[in-house]
């Protein structure tokens, strides 16, 4: 085994070092032009995606040399158990991945600490592990793609999709990446057996099929929606093309605030509504969009948005430290830490910088940084348990603040005088789930506001019911004006494709996406309601899947008990499981 490890190391170690040096050089260059430790998630996703693809290419290349039958026999004809041979190859590959991926990232940390001035935090120590885990997952999936079941191995790439979409944060995210690498390791290790054409035992076949069904369920749902949308385009009926359907959500999303208000008011004609409609047409209607959908969490590996403050007056750069939960300053001139007279206040969650870059949003608090005095001042504090879901929005001479509980309107001077001196002028509780909120439009009346809430976020995926609500706000009194149901624009068969195609699997995938994730109220789009026709279709498809599994099982299976198990699985997991069953039991001899 050690000889195999040594041989494999000698085979690739130069490449690994060259790649590691190139990787390190790129990281050091990136450190001089940006702060690679405090980037947003999308930047890390692109970077890790490249690492995963490189790892996958390496895995494909490494085992392709052994995959042909003669070479395979030669590889496994040793006085070592096949699993140990596989472990030797895979562990060597993981070590090489470590050289090319983890070491450069680890070396970046002290370099950054010395050169950039902005301190390395404890969460950054997970960066080498996280980068290596993603690279290793790619590598192991490459091995599995080459050695695994020919028709099902590709479905294991769902692991990368899982990592891409996972909502876990901080150490949990790193743990999830290691877990994915572990699963990929087991998949790849299982491929090292003398006769790769021999059928597996039932539990392994069931597990392989389940992973495949999961991938088919998730990707298939996407594909179904995609195909249905292509169909809508071909018949010229797609709501996003041309003029959107009247009374629909797309129309409401594209409308300017005044037109949206007028449209809502026109649904209940009255003298008062006509007056408001005219007033909306003449006035500046303020629109607020809940942009801050992701919650910030301590020790997160990514930054949900820009939180750095650049003070050109005092020549300081303020960065937020997750270790102390405070801002810390670095001098632009010396790149050394700068200690202020008054320590910045501790924040409950990592903040975001908004607007002019001097306004800071931290959970339920809004602070203002004053360049003249290099001081942070609390300006608005929402009740505990609330979280801002939109940056402060100037509204005429006032300021609109949107949280996951309510919309509040403050005197515009609140950012100078604070909410202790200027409490909210009006508060409107959200009447719907915050995650379903698409936009808010406000019309300023003489002594109050007319507020339009438009719900329907993710309604194209069947997640919420599109609706427009109008509320009249007069001081502390908030009264409903009207509710106008909006058309979801897309056919139910597209919106609820996950329900009729793979309800259990897509629910499971959603649970996996949210595993170890910090709570995020913006994920709540309200209870799901599907037409009974969709439920009937789902029931029909699941029964047909079970019948299909029974019919096909009669031809390819000899064990009646195993046939029943596959039928139950198909009945429970639906068409994706049937497809996985069909793919698994038409295995061909590998080349």
């Amino acid at each position: 085994m050690w000889g195999l490890i040594r041989a494999e190391w000698l085979r690739f170690h130069r490449w690994a070092f060259v790649l590691g040096m190139a990787h390190l050089g790129w990281l050091l260059f990136a450190d001089r032009v940006a702060d690679p430790l405090r980037q947003q998630a999308i930047a890390y996703k692109v970077y890790l995606g490249v690492l995963a693809l490189l790892g996958m290419a390496f895995g494909l290349y490494q085992v392709s040399a052994y995959a042909r039958q003669a070479a395979w026999i030669d590889l496994l004809h040793r006085p070592v158990a096949p699993r140990r041979i596989g472990a030797a190859l895979l562990l060597t590959g993981l070590a090489l991945t470590c050289v090319a991926v983890a070491f450069p990232v680890a070396l970046l940390l002290p370099f950054h600490h010395v050169m950039a001035g902005q301190g390395v935090e404890s969460r950054h120590l997970l960066f080498p592990l996280a980068a290596w885990a993603v690279g290793a997952t790619g590598y192991l999936l490459g091995v599995h793609l080459r050695l695994g079941p020919p028709r099902l191995a590709f479905t294991a790439t769902i692991l990368l999709v899982w990592l891409y979409q996972a909502q876990a944060s901080g150490p949990a995210a790193a743990g999830l990446q290691v877990l994915a690498a572990g699963i990929a390791f087991l998949l790849a290790l299982g491929d090292f057996r003398p006769d790769r054409t021999a059928p597996d035992r039932l539990p392994r076949r069931m597990a392989t099929s389940f992973v495949a069904a999961l991938a088919i369920g998730v990707v298939g749902t996407f594909a179904l929606r995609f195909v249905l949308q292509i169909g809508l385009m071909l018949v010229g009926n797609h709501p996003l093309n041309g003029v959107p359907p009247a009374g629909g959500l797309v129309e409401a999303m594209r409308a300017d605030g005044a037109a949206l208000m007028a449209s809502g008011l026109a649904s209940r004609p009255s003298e008062r509504n006509r007056f408001w409609s005219e007033q909306a047409g003449l006035s500046e209607v303020v629109t607020i969009v809940p942009e801050l959908r992701d919650a910030t969490a301590r020790f997160s590996l990514t930054s949900p948005g820009d939180s750095t403050i650049e003070d050109d007056v005092s020549r300081l750069v303020w960065s937020f430290s997750h270790d102390t939960m405070r801002y810390a300053a670095t001098s632009m001139a010396t790149r050394r830490p700068w200690k202020p007279e008054l320590s910045p206040p501790p924040l409950p969650v990592p903040p975001l910088a908004a607007g002019d870059g001097q306004t800071i949003i931290a959970g339920n608090r809004i602070l203002q940084y004053e360049a003249q005095s290099s001081r942070f001042s609390d300006r608005i504090t929402l009740p505990p348990g609330e979280r801002l879901i939109a940056p402060p929005q100037p509204a005429w001479d006032q300021l609109a603040i949107l949280s996951d509980h309510a919309l509040r309107v403050y005197d515009g001077r609140v950012m100078r005088h604070g909410d202790r001196n200027l409490p909210p002028l009006a508060t409107v509780d959200l009447a719907g789930p915050p995650g379903a909120l698409v936009r808010i439009d406000m019309l300023e009346l003489l002594d109050g506001y007319l507020v339009s809430f438009t719900y329907g976020q993710r309604s194209a995926e069947g997640r919420s019911q599109p609706e427009q609500q109008l509320w009249l706000v007069e001081g502390a009194r908030v009264t409903p004006v009207l509710r106008r149901p909006l058309d979801p624009d897309y056919p139910a068969i597209m919106r609820h494709a996950d329900l009729w195609f793979a309800p259990v699997l897509t629910s499971g995938a959603a649970a996996l996406r949210g595993a170890f994730a910090p709570p995020n109220v913006m994920a709540d789009t309200g209870p799901r309601a599907a037409p009974s026709s969709i439920l009937a279709l789902a029931l029909l498809l699941h029964i047909l899947s079970a019948l299909g599994a029974w019919w096909r099982g009669g031809r390819v299976l000899t064990d009646r008990r195993e046939r029943v198990i596959w039928v139950i699985a198909a009945l429970f997991l639906g068409p994706p499981m049937l497809i996985a069953f069909l793919l698994l039991h038409r295995r061909k001899t590998p080349c």
Partner: protein, 685 residues
Amino acid sequence: MLSWRWWAALAGLALVGLLAGGLAMRTSAPTVPGPSAVEDASPVPPRPQTPADPVAAIALSPDGLRHAWIESDAAGSSLWLAEKDGAARRLLRRTDATDLAWSSDGEWLFLVAPGKLMSLTTSDRTGSGVLTQLGGVTGRRYLGVDAWRAAALVAVEDDSNGDGQADRFALLRLHPGGRTEELWAGDRRVSSAITGQDGSVWLRLVGRNQVEISRLAPSGQLEMRYRCRPLERCSLVSADQRGALYLLTSAGADLDGLYRINGTRPPRLVARDPLVLGDGEGVVIDPVTRAPQVLHIPYAGGRAVEAAPAARRVLAALARRHPDASEVRVAGHARGRWLVGTRDGRDAAMVWELADDDGEAWRPALPHDRKASTSPALPLRRLESFAASDGLRIFAYVTRPASPARSPRPLVVLVHGGPWSISPPGYSATAARLAARGYLVVEPQFRASRGYGQRYMLAAGDDLGDGRVLGDIRESAEWLVARGEADGDRMAIMGASFGGYAALLATTLWPERFRGAVAVVPPTDMAWVARYQAMAEQGDDAGLSLRASFAYLGLNIADAPAMRRLGARSPMAMASRLRRPVLLLAGGRDAKVPVRSVNAYAARLCTLGKPFRYYVAPGQGHGLDGGPAAQSVAGLTDRFLAQLFGDDVAVRAPEPRVWPGLARKRCTAGAVGLTGPGPEGSGPA
């Protein structure tokens, strides 16, 4: 090697993911429209040019031998200096300064520009440059020059605990070159300050609902010397060589005058309007003795009256030299030389001259070849008066076209804002422009106007609806009709702020008299706007909350029945009675009359189908004076009046498609769906 199926599967997976992801993003991301666009600035309509005085500021040096001024033209402003020999040289080719003052030793000029205070040597000293930043986060405000030292006085307001409220106040003396002395620090705002020869400092300190004049002794002891009454003008003028303080105030009387305070004795009157008509405002001080020489009475004839015997002869000579002057301004006196400006009511430009003490030698103060009097072909503006129906004497500026009248002329009533305000004395660009188009223009200084004593100002109380104030305005028009100067069938009314309110109210109540109205930033419900302003304002310069100020002026916001009465007689409440066309203009960022109140009125007119036009200047405040909006307002007004008065030539001229700086707002003719474009709103006024 991988088979082609592998690669095809991977590529397909990636393609599906990309396309589906792209579609998902398209379906979930709301499209938020940007702010409504201001009308495009092309093509540019003809803009009426607004005449302006090219001399923005002028000052005589303490030795009386030199004078400096800021001169503006289309390209910008420049700073000029006339030397002892009369030769003028340009000190600064371009400057953003709007005001200037000489240092006490005559070696420096202090230039006040937006956001900064600069010092500039007039000899060869070093130290010219920006003395300090002003306003904004600095909390600094220029107060004036130190009368006894070559320095400027600057007030500072600081928010020491970061709660957004200024809580520490100070007075600084800034010397050219940058040396700074803190003269005083405390917990009250310094609104103005002057220095005495003995090192003392006189402070006008503003606390909550309280203003007082205090003396800061050289020992540092602060002693209150005069407590100002509510709404009383209380302006520091000077402290003379003997330590007496001169104050511009009413001291409990009706008219503002110049008073002397010596020690703890009560104020003694030094000068006031001998005709007992107008308030005093603006004082000329001798640079050596610091004693007042001349007091201006700007609103009751634009006169200057003597505050010391030394001014008697020159003022008499001035009256002989410019008998028709509509405004006289003495800018300085030093060592027997007087710098005097006169305006004759025809021209925006003031004519500046230098005179000796006897008033016998006069010479132009500016090097340009300015005429001593302007062309008689320009409209002449004069202050006149008439008796109101209750017998009170009401002042009014009347601007008559220069051409002789063969028949009564169309009349435009131009109402000033406030109402506790005043029309500009001397020259009005708006009145001149309208008169040049052949209209007779009257600017009634109705009761509630300031400048004619407290009794005149308080005479209206809260009678701002269909009452005494509107009566004065209407009677000013009828007075000219009765005199045969105005055509009673061709009258329009216009104004800004309160003037717009009065215009809407007048044309609503008396459509048989006023054929239309131009209302610029009008409060459409005075009671609502008063409540709004009182809520929004933190306090005024006098330390009074706006609510308290209104109450002293007779408008008690807490008096609910009175407010209801006022609201019931507002243009908003009486919109259904409007029969005449109206031109409405509002500022999108107006802090005094919020645009939503005008929007609400316009929406009411829409639902009632009334004829009106409505324009909003986005980003503009109460003045509508930024960018091209002001000129567009003038152009729109001219066109609107031409239509009202049947000026065929003007009406036939094609209207510009856009008015720069203004966004036209139209009715939607009721609630319409998103896909159904509404018809054009109410017809053009």
